[in-house]
């Protein structure tokens, strides 16, 4: 076990700070926008008949009453005017006053209200991002165009999950992907990483490249074992900001013993882990739960039928967990990938995703607060086809 810096301890008698979320009521059309923002897209509605762009989301074109469809748009915009809000009746924003927002003329056509990066002022060019707020709903955020804006911006941080100096648990750090995730978090400046290692300890653990790193602490942890999960969480003891679930068990074929283990990790293991860490994440100012999910969860897959089934159940639970955690302001991020380039997918030909690439995407998803990410060609292609025509996609994956 490596040394790590002493952690601040919370005053045990202090009243815990309650976390609020921004106002959450939205129209169905805005939820449709959020669903696209969740995947990092910048979209607006355009009219199928006259091509007019519109915002805020509507149910009919205001120019010709034609049908509206979502379309990716240019991100450029011009700041028209601004205000700094210093009084509000909303509990979330009261905790974050003063709050700057403004109105922008989008290059795409409409004008829109947006959160303003501290460096932006009227007359400036901006780059628009559709972010998810703490309540999980889409919100426009204007960053300075070009250059390298300060990503420590106080308001921007509310829409992202900062990694620097924060405390992270990686549920399985022994797999190739798990090791890569620990390394990527370390490079991103995580304050302390608990690297979960299922007992018994192995000789190879001692020679791991990050075994000697500061800010990394190994932790006996196994999400198939309720008592080890409880013990592990109690050993972390202090604040826990981010949990990354890297645990998985991948087998092809229809062996029932394998199947039981796959279900135990992907389904019951997820439930043990998410249940145990939810209360800890809920108390944190920017808590997040990141889960690595196989893209096979979308539609099943011949050859990996049992694993795909376990992952489908895993994804289903993850989506409900996201809903549960929204009220607490905790982000739940899904990282979809196809076969990884490691021992789990030895039988599968390329293209495969390098574990380091997957790990980079975990850090990137946190950095952008992105709910849905697809890593690699296999996952991106599958997601695109599934969104376009799910019935056809299911048929093709199971021909």
């Amino acid at each position: 076990m490596s040394q790590h810096p002493p952690r601040d301890k919370r005053d045990p008698l202090a009243r815990r700070k309650e976390r609020h979320t921004p106002p959450g009521l939205r129209s169905s059309a805005l939820h449709a926008l959020s669903a696209r923002a969740a995947a990092g897209r910048f979209v607006l509605q355009s009219c199928q008949d006259c091509g007019a762009m519109t915002y805020p989301p509507r149910d009919a074109c205001p120019q010709c009453w034609g049908e509206l469809v979502w379309q990716d748009q240019a991100r450029g915009a011009l700041v028209l005017c601004e205000t700094t809000i210093r009084a509000t009746t909303d509990l979330y924003f009261r905790d974050h006053l003063p709050w700057r927002m403004g109105k922008l003329a989008l290059d795409a056509g409409p004008t829109a209200l947006a959160h303003l990066h501290a460096d932006l002022k009227p007359g400036d060019r901006a780059e628009m991002h559709l972010m998810l707020d703490k309540g999980g709903n889409a919100a426009l955020f204007a960053l300075p165009a070009g250059g390298r804006p300060d990503m420590d911006d106080r308001q921007w941080r509310e829409f992202t999950v900062p990694v620097k100096d924060r405390i992270v648990l990686v549920s399985d750090a022994r797999s190739a992907v798990g090791r890569a995730v620990v390394k990527a978090l370390h490079s991103a400046g995580a304050g302390l990483i608990f690297a979960g290692m299922a007992p018994p300890a192995r000789a190879a653990d001692l020679t791991d490249e990050w075994a000697g790193l500061d800010r990394v602490q190994t932790l006996p942890f196994d999400i198939t074992d309720s008592s080890l999960v409880a013990e592990g969480i109690s050993k972390i003891a202090g604040p826990l900001d981010i949990v990354i679930n890297t645990a998985r068990f991948v087998r092809g074929g229809r062996n029932l013993v394998d199947q039981k283990r796959m279900m135990d990790i992907a389904v019951l293991g997820f439930m043990r882990l998410s249940g145990a860490c939810a209360p800890m994440l809920a108390g944190r100012p920017a808590g997040a739960f990141v889960d690595l999910v196989s893209i096979q969860a979308l539609a099943g897959e011949v050859g990996f039928a049992g694993y795909a089934a376990a992952e489908a159940a895993h994804l289903s639970l993850l989506q409900s967990f996201r809903h549960d955690m929204r009220a607490q302001g905790v982000r739940v991020l899904s990282i979809f990938s196809g076969p990884s380039d490691d021992e789990d997918y030895q039988s599968v030909p390329p293209p495969k995703v390098a574990p380091a690439r997957l790990a980079r995407e975990v850090v990137e998803a946190l950095r952008m607060g992105r709910e849905i990410s697809c890593v690699g060609e296999v996952a991106s292609d599958a997601m695109e086809r599934w969104l376009a025509d799910p019935a056809l996609f299911v048929r093709e994956k199971n021909l």
């Binding site: 921004p22 106002p23 989301p57 028209l80 601004e82 205000t83 009746t89």
Partner: protein
């Protein structure tokens, strides 16, 4: 192609009443509406059986509308209207009721706006206000109307070079007008220094740019000259009205509003010009909107409000008496009743039945309403010119 509009002959306005405002009230909108009808009855002698037209505006009567209100208050009107247009509702009530009376669909229309203000009403009214607000305004800091008008004020100041001291002059004059109004909620002297030094609420909007939400009710009667004469009521007639919604939707920021589309129609129908009215009762939810009305209603050219404000006196004895009861900024904003007080106050002044000081020799009044921030701007505008019948 433009048809000549029918005049409002055969219609009069009378019996302006204000139910004294309260900062907070544990009563309901129904109670306030009842108080308004009782005040109308005292002023006119009309009972529930006499009133055959009812026009109602409120934000806090839920789950009831005008329908629930007629049964609640024992009315059996043959003409009914519910106006969800807030700050524009007073003038819209006036012009709708006028046509109903003129055409014989109703004889005596009670126009009533009533709103209560519970401790948490303001927050709750905001929370469910409109779909665009929910989707595209509240998530951005939840500054309420203060933030929306801060953006408009910011853009207006940048575009036309108007300063806070100009807005301040309007607020200070209105406060001075409020000093003689026993019903105004804010009746301590306000100086320009006080105004300029006030704490920022949503820059560049500061404390004294904001109205104070309160509970209250306003009402008036629209009827025929004959019926009013039989009751011995002082009356005024309507020279002209306009109304417009969602004007200039492509303007990126609201620097002008619906009045600008219809201003020529207003003054040509009235047969007089803005320089001939004895007062302006403007909608004053944020002074930037007052400045906009001065321009868009033709009191000064567009972009020259700063100049006009600097050289005009807005007190009751000034060149252009403005919001002579103190306006919403000093009297209080009782929800939808805030959109009625421009009508009741204008009517009181031309009938020489003031709450406080009387505008000398007042005979005509321009009334203006502005309502409903659905998203990034006020959507509804309306204006009227009235004249006392002597």
């Amino acid at each position: 192609m433009t048809r000549t509009r029918t005049s409002y002959d055969g219609v009069v306005l009378c019996a302006p009443v204000t139910v004294p405002y309260e900062r907070y009230s544990s009563q309901t909108a129904h109670w306030w509406a009842g108080r308004a009808l009782r005040a109308l009855a005292r002023a006119t002698g009309f009972g529930p059986g006499d009133i055959d037209g009812f026009c109602f505006a409120s934000f806090s009567a839920a789950p009831d509308t005008a329908v629930g209100m007629v049964q609640h208050l024992g009315l059996s009107p043959r003409w009914l209207d519910h106006l969800p247009t807030g700050g524009a509702s007073g003038i819209m009530a006036l012009r709708r009721a006028a046509r109903a009376v003129q055409c014989g669909d109703a004889d005596i229309v009670a126009c009533v706006a009533a709103d209560t203000n519970h401790l948490d009403s303001f927050r709750q009214t905001l929370a469910g206000f409109s779909r665009f607000s929910q989707d595209a305004v509240y998530p951005y800091g939840f500054g309420g109307p203060n933030a929306t008008f801060a953006l408009i004020t910011d853009a207006y100041m940048r575009t036309y070079g108007i300063g806070r001291e100009h807005f301040g002059k309007l607020c200070v004059a209105q406060r001075r007008n409020a000093l003689s109004n026993p019903l105004a909620l804010m009746r301590t002297e306000l100086t320009l220094e006080d105004y300029l030094r006030a704490r920022p609420i949503s820059d560049p909007v500061h404390l004294f740019d904001c109205v104070m939400p309160c509970a209250g009710a306003e009402a008036f009667i629209v009827t025929t000259p004959e019926i009013a004469a039989a009751r011995g009521l002082k009356v005024a007639r309507i020279l002209a009205t306009i109304e417009r919604h969602n004007a200039f939707p492509d303007d990126p920021v609201q620097l002008r509003s619906g009045w600008a589309m219809d201003v020529d129609d207003l003054w040509s129908m009235a047969g007089i010009g803005p320089e001939q009215v004895d007062m302006l009762q403007a909608y004053d939810d944020y002074p930037v909107i007052v400045a906009m009305q001065l321009e868009d209603l033709g009191f000064c050219p567009k972009g020259q409000a700063a100049d006009f404000i600097a050289r005009t006196g807005f007190e009751i004895h000034g060149d252009l008496p403005l919001n002579t009861n103190g306006g919403q900024l000093s009297a209080g904003q009782a929800g939808a009743a805030g959109g009625f007080q421009n009508v009741t106050e204008g009517l009181r002044q031309v009938l020489h039945q003031p709450l406080g000081a009387q505008v000398p020799n007042a005979r005509t009044a321009a009334l203006s309403g502005f309502g409903l921030v659905n998203y990034d701007r006020g959507v509804c505008t309306a204006a009227a010119v009235i004249e006392a019948c002597r």
